[in-house]
Amino acid sequence: MHIAEGFLPVTHCVAWYAVSAPFVIHGARRVIAESREHPESRLLLAAAGAFTFVLSSIKLPSVTGSSSHPTGTGLGAVLFGPPVMAFLSSVVLIFQALLLAHGGITTLGANVFSMGIVGPWVGYAFWVLAKRLRWNANVGVFLALAFADLSTYCVTSAQLAIAFPDPVSGLAGSLAKFLGVFALTQVPLALAEGVLGVLVFRLLRDVAHPELVKLGVLKPRANQAVA
């Protein structure tokens, strides 16, 4: 769920660019440092970016009878961490704007803030919380992906409400309107993305355990640790 091109007033566009810039610059510095230290990681980061982009082409059934697509940032935050996702999400959002006409260049700052910063950090917080509480990893993945999606949708609604306060009921009325309209697809979608994440994670744990260990997502198995 992105804000379309030209939808925000120019002052809001500038403000959201200013808010998002420090996070994206921090993420970009991490990416540069990582790629200088481990040049081979560039290709893996690029693969992660392409995966996030292509994931948005996978249609999920929605309660309204239509279908929608996952954001992919929750899974990315669990696998690669939120700072890297701030940069990768910016790249993905630019691609979505220029290749899919989804989102936009003027609204890039606002969309990066909701999908590339708040979503991954909220998702990552739930993943870490679940690990601290020693919950099952599947529960952690479900919560991370579902809340990354939900928080993205809530922030986008708030951004639109601030830009277009309701003439009768003001900011609160506008927020209720946008949350209500997008809840029809976004709440079921968040739950569906959580379930999808669990299915993906279970399969990855079986067939790509060494890669997940390398990323620091899972601990090595006992026999691997000894080896």
Binding site: E5, G6, F7, C13, L44, A47, A97, T106, K177, L196
Partner: protein, 252 residues
């Protein structure tokens, strides 16, 4: 996704592809900034007309392709505009109403968003991503960042092919007949894509390392046509748009 490929194909086949990114960037980003800054009438309405003339004229997108790439942003704009047009109040129970203020705001918003989308299309439909990466390198954006963005672009098309192949195979095996099987197929498909992305990255890395890859994948570039006349005409056109809009506001 066909609209996405349509945008990319339009960029590669555009007669304006040979123009320099600087020239096209000044025109397109100028139109984009004007679209979100000027009042809807006459500024944004004029931008809509100018952009349509450019897209169907020298950029040569074609009416049918323009329709295909325009429908997604139009649906997105329509949902947002409809939400802005309707007012909600809850003092005496939840009540929805259409107010003159809400309608005016929605009308302005629709024209502005349409103008901005079409302005963005003038760049997206005439400039392939690889040309933008080259422009970023010349603008001294850190090489690793441009390199990763370029690799994302290269990986994307291979993965999209894989995604279509996986989806078609799942559909042929009745993997999309109901909600449950669709979810399961989507999970399997996403996992397969992740593993393919990972495997391709690893194999590419091994292959490139063997060929001495250290920092960037250097490719030859065709020289791009820079035109002072094009640039001057773009700046003059944008200045005229702004002047007419400001004069209209003053006179009104």
């Amino acid at each position: 996704m066909s609209h996405g490929l349509a945008l990319d194909r339009a960029a590669w086949s555009s007669p304006w592809r040979t123009r320099s990114v600087r020239d096209k960037g000044v025109l397109s980003l100028g139109l984009l900034v004007a679209a979100v800054s000027l009042p809807p009438l006459p500024g944004d309405a004029a931008i809509v007309v100018v952009c349509l003339a450019l897209l169907l004229g020298p950029i040569d997108v074609g009416a049918a392709r323009l329709g295909r790439i325009l429908w997604l942003p139009l649906v997105s704009i329509a949902i947002g505009v409809a939400t802005v047009a309707v007012s909600v109040s809850w003092d005496a129970g939840v009540r929805l109403a259409v107010t003159p203020e809400g309608t005016a705001m929605a009308g302005h918003l629709a024209v502005r968003a349409l103008a901005a989308v079409l302005a963005m299309f003038t760049l997206a439909c005439s400039t392939p991503m690889v040309d933008l990466f080259s422009a970023c390198r010349r603008a001294r954006v850190p090489a690793p960042l441009v390199e990763i963005a370029a690799l994302v672009y290269r990986f994307t098309f291979g993965l999209l092919e894989s995604a279509y192949a996986v989806r078609d195979a799942q559909g042929a095996r009745l993997g999309m007949v109901n909600r449950r099987t669709t979810m399961r197929s989507a999970g399997m498909g996403a996992s397969a894509l992740f593993l393919r992305a990972w495997d391709r990255a690893r194999r590419l890395e091994e292959g490139l390392t063997g060929r001495g890859y250290t920092d960037t994948l250097v490719t030859l570039e065709r020289p791009r046509r820079r035109s002072g006349a094009f640039l001057a005409l773009s700046v003059a056109g944008l200045a005229t748009l702004v002047a007419v809009s400001v004069a209209w506001e003053v006179v009104r």
